[in-house]
Each structure stands twice: as structure tokens, then as C-alpha cells.
Symmetry: C2
Subunit: 350 residues, 2 copies
């Protein structure tokens, strides 16, 4: 795979973080320049940047922006500097609730903030740059490990967007699909449109089209018929948070697809870097699930889809129990038939 | 229930058929005037009028328009008249493939066309008017019979639009919800948005709002989480064709909801007049399933949702096997745990 084959979700200019504004895709390819932590938090909250690994990395760059800003304002006053940076980190942490990668990234930087003396802004930036490299390399490793599990002719269904737009490198689940395509393994690719935000129609279709990977878009409602007709071998998805027992929170609709997969003998592969695990949560029941505004369902680009004032329930993630998952592919290895012991073993690896 | 409480999907003016243009709802309430069979066929094909009972009835009025037109053109020449009317009936029959009500309605009129001498246009119109009354009364009977099966506090999920807009009276599945609301039985109503045509967001939300029935819209992807949280007692849906063994073709996504219902102990009620049964088909595998243009998925009101040229698979119905269905409610009675014998018994009733 050629790194130039995809548009990165985010890039550091040396002075600011630029994120590809995913609200405007596929119509326009526009990078937003973010100069401070508040702007990064707002870009995450407003979904200009989304996808669990990408928002973790964006938040980490947000910490770099905060550190630099408060160093300039406060000079060498370590105490006030630490307080202000911690406030910005709290703001970043609160931007979206479900993806744990955000918290994982902030936790990885916290010792540098809390050190005595605290790390200099350039040292923080060097740490985030290493994180970026590590996540990019994780994508590559997962893509190869996931593709290695597919038999020739594999027919794959994917949900939401888990590509370069959602991550630091080639993507998670979509990275597996890219690698499988490069190996000539794919019999068919189906991508859900992914209501309500249409990550599949807008973003995955855009990435697959640019990569020259043949696919068909389907609405979520058609996935039952697709599986009933025996046209899916693997459901390949990403994750926003994985609990200690292997339960997976991911884009709303994932659970339904996993239920259908089990009924029809399709296998379920979750592709996520280890930053996505939250071993502090006993099971998926403890994962906080974000519910967003009804308007994301009842309007599109400001135009009404439903009568004005129509009430809607709009949870944007759901939890797939570990028992419905065949493989969790990480950069450290693959967990088969995930359970508490399998998760613990993987996370204990260095 | 008050008949004035809903806008009819179609009305006969004495001279023409008027159909409420469902492509323009909820933004505008506009009736299209249809003066000949070709216009009726086009209104069905283009989904200005939709819903299995409504398109059956619209086609029947289309036959009246054909009979009147060819009587005027051909005077008393029974042979050429019969040929021309039969051509128009074939055009109506070909307008959409899945809902059998279209064919049932045409079959009910065929003896009048083929009689020697053929029925006069006013006699045909009288027959269609009786069909309209009978379907309206069937809706009422099904609404009461279905509501009688719900316990107080019942939490109901419905899919697509099965209300007055889809039928001749108060609707099929939505008629049950109207009757249950009138009895004060409902604990909650959830309506799917129903991609790709958004019948739920545009039409069901409009009907429920006008009827003052509290509800929440959900995307299909959220129904797994809804059921997982134990928030659904009944899935209540309509049907487009029911095979001899009780398999049900209905709006794409129904099968997925039925699979989820079975997993989570929710019951499944199909509400459909007996015109929806096709005893000539052994099982659901034989039901022709309409696939519509990719653009219905990739664009909305002419605006792109996905990159131009994105390929899509857009089947608009799926088949739910009888084993996943608890009740089929018809105007002649209720089939419990539907199977071949139960369907045969019901259809043998006068």
C-alpha cells in the first residue's frame, strides 16, 4: 500500500493541526486549521474529525497546542501552566464520550504534564509525533493481520467509516479491506450507508472509490437480505471502546449486523488498536453511549427529512457482546473468540 | 377513530382519480389528478402513491379510467374495447412487481371485462367503489383485531409507512397503532425512518404527528440497541405479499427487525388484508423482489449523498420467514404462528 494513496484525516503543519473537514466530504476536500485546544475540541465535538483513533490523535495534538499557548502566556510558571493545560485537556476529554482512544491519548501525555519540571512544548510534540507514527504503523500491522485471515474470494461487509479518514494511517477495518484488495483476495465489498451521519455513503464510498476497490453501497435495512442470500463471509468493523470482557462499542447498527452475521454463518472481525481497549470497564454495559441531537436524523444539510419537531432517539453507538465476535485484530496480535482472558493476555503483551 | 382524522391516499372525484403525492410529503400536501390508466401506472411506478393496499386500489381505479376512455373511443365494439382495456391492465400490472394487491385487484375486475357483453364503465366503477369500501372496512377490522392483542403499556416498533397513506382506510399496521392509541394501550411507539425512501421519517411521522400519537423516530441501525435495552414488546408491520407458507415480503429491513425481535423476545405482528396473500407461491423464495435505482440511495431530492457514480444495491423489499412471525392479522381473522395450514384455513373462510 502506498501512503500517498489516501488523504490523511489530520496533519501537523509545524504550527497548527489541520483536519480534513469530514462534514464537507465528499463534495469538498477542505482542511480546517486548528490553532488551539478549544478549536480541536470543537472540531471533535462537531465531527469535522471523527473515528476513534483519529480523535485520540487530534486530542493529543490539541494538548501540544495548549502547552505551547500557555508556555507563551505564562513563561516558566510551571504551576499555573500545569493548571491551564489540565483545563484544556479536560475540555478535550469532554468533547465526545464513547471513543476511549481520546482518554487513552490524554493519559499517555499526562505524565509529561505532571513531571517536575513539566515537559517543554517541543518534547510534548515529539511524544505526539511518536504516537502518530505508532498509530500509523499499528494500522499497517492490523491491515496485514486482518487480511491474512481472509480466504480468496472473501465477501466483506463493512459499516461506518474506518479508513484513513478515521485513523492515523490506512485505517482499521477499511485498512484490512485495502490490504485484502492489494492481495487480490476480495470477492465483494459491501459498505453500509451508515445512518444518520452517512459515514459510509459519504466517506467510505469516497475512500473505496479513490482506492479503486470495487464495492456496492447498501442501506442498513438491506443487510438482512444480503446475508440471507449468503452473500457475506465476513463483517469487518472498527471499534470505539472495548471492555475488559471483549464487548465492543462501535457505530450504531454494528450490533444488528453482528446478530445477522451469527444467524447466517458470517464471521465478525473487529479491527482496533490497543488504545481502544478500556480494561477499567468490566463489560460493555458500562461503556458510556453518546446520544446526539434528533436533528441529525430529522434533517440533512439543514433541510427537513421529517415534519418539523419530529422527536427522535439518536444513540450513535451500540454494544456488540463478545460472544458475537470471532476475532479482534490489534497491532499486538489477534484475539480469537474474545473473552476476558483473551483480552487480558493481549493487553499484557509488550 | 374518526375517518376525518386522516388524509386519504386516494379519492375518486367522479371524473378522475386523485392521489396524495407522497413524494412531496411532508413539505407539501398536493393531490395529483390522474385522468387515464397510463397516468395511474406512472404514479404507482414513481411512488406518488405507494403501500400495497393503496396501489391495488389505485390500479383498480385505473381500470375504470381505461374502461371509460375506450368506451368513448370505441363505442359499443366489445372486442377491441376488451383488447385495449386488457393492454391498460397489463401496463398497470407491470408498474411495480412485489405487492400482489395490484394483481389481486386486477384479477377481481377481470371477469367484468371478460363477460359477454363486458360490464359498462359505470358497473366497473361501482365494483371498484365496493372494493374501496371493503378495503376501508378491512382496515378498521384489522385495527381492532390487532389492538386487541396488545397488553396495556405495549411498546411498539413499526417500519415503513402502513397508515392511511398506504391503504384505503386507517391503514394496516399503523391502523393497529391508531386503534391501540384510542384504547390508551400504548406505552411507546418507535417508527423507523425507513431508508432509502424515508417512508417512516416523511410519512409515518406525519401521520402520527397529525393523530397526536406520541412517538420517536429511530434509524434502522438503532433498532438493535432499542431491543437490546428491552424497550420493544411488539414489532408491528404491514406486508406486500404473503406466500402460501406464511412467509412475508415487506419493506426492506423488515427481516432484520424480525431477527432482532426473535433474539430479544419481542413479538412480531404482520397486519395485511387477505388481498395481500398469494397462495400460488409456495414460499417467500418465489416472491419477486423489486430492486430500484442506486440513485434512490445515493442522492436525496436530487442532491448527492455519496460521490457521483457510487454503485449501490437497492432491493426495496425483503422476505421474513413465517417462523419469525407470531401473528398475521387480516380482516377475516388472525393466524397465530403462521404456517401453510393456517394460511389455507384463513383463505378458505368466506
Amino acid at each position: 500500500m502506498n501512503a500517498a494513496a489516501f488523504e490523511p484525516a489530520l496533519r501537523w503543519t509545524g504550527e497548527a493541526l489541520e483536519v480534513l473537514d469530514q462534514r464537507r466530504l465528499p463534495a469538498e476536500t477542505v482542511y480546517l486549521r486548528l490553532d488551539d485546544a478549544a478549536a480541536v475540541a470543537e472540531a471533535i465535538r462537531g465531527m469535522a474529525v471523527r473515528g476513534a483513533p483519529a480523535i485520540g490523535l487530534a486530542a493529543a495534538y490539541g494538548v501540544c497546542l495548549a502547552a505551547r499557548h500557555w508556555s507563551r502566556v505564562l513563561g516558566g510558571q510551571a504551576g499555573p501552566w500545569r493548571t491551564r493545560v489540565a483545563e484544556d485537556m479536560a475540555r478535550l476529554a469532554a468533547s465526545r464520550p464513547t471513543a476511549v482512544n481520546l482518554h487513552t491519548a490524554l493519559a499517555q501525555l499526562r505524565p509529561l504534564i505532571e513531571a517536575e519540571p513539566p515537559a517543554a512544548p517541543e518534547d510534548l510534540l515529539a511524544a505526539v509525533s511518536r504516537m502518530h507514527d505508532r498509530l500509523r504503523e499499528a494500522d499497517r500491522a492490523m491491515a496485514e493481520a486482518g487480511a491474512a485471515r481472509l480466504a480468496p474470494g472473501a465477501r466483506v461487509l463493512t459499516h461506518c467509516n474506518t479508513g484513513a479518514l478515521a485513523s492515523a494511517g490506512c485505517g482499521t477495518a477499511l485498512g484490512v479491506i485495502r490490504a485484502a484488495h492489494a492481495r487480490g483476495l476480495l470477492g465483494a465489498v459491501y459498505a453500509t450507508e451508515t445512518r444518520p451521519w452517512l459515514q459510509g455513503a459519504r466517506l467510505t464510498a469516497w475512500e473505496l472509490g479513490r482506492a479503486g476497490i470495487p464495492f456496492q453501497l447498501v442501506c442498513e435495512g438491506a443487510c438482512g437480505a444480503l446475508m440471507q442470500q449468503g452473500r457475506v463471509d465476513w463483517l469487518v468493523v472498527g471499534a470505539d471502546r472495548i471492555a475488559a470482557n471483549g464487548d465492543v462499542a462501535n457505530k450504531i447498527g454494528t450490533y444488528t449486523l453482528a446478530v445477522l452475521a451469527r444467524r447466517h454463518g458470517a464471521r465478525v472481525m473487529v479491527v482496533a488498536p490497543t488504545d481502544t481497549f478500556d480494561p477499567t470497564l468490566d463489560s460493555g454495559a458500562a461503556i458510556p453511549i453518546e446520544t446526539r441531537a434528533a436533528e441529525e436524523l430529522t434533517t440533512l444539510a439543514g433541510r427537513p427529512l421529517a415534519p418539523p419537531g419530529t422527536p427522535a432517539w439518536n444513540p450513535v453507538f451500540d454494544v456488540t457482546p463478545a460472544e458475537l465476535i470471532d476475532l479482534i485484530v490489534t497491532e499486538k496480535g489477534v484475539i480469537e473468540q474474545p473473552d476476558r482472558a483473551g483480552v487480558a493476555r493481549l493487553l499484557a503483551l509488550r
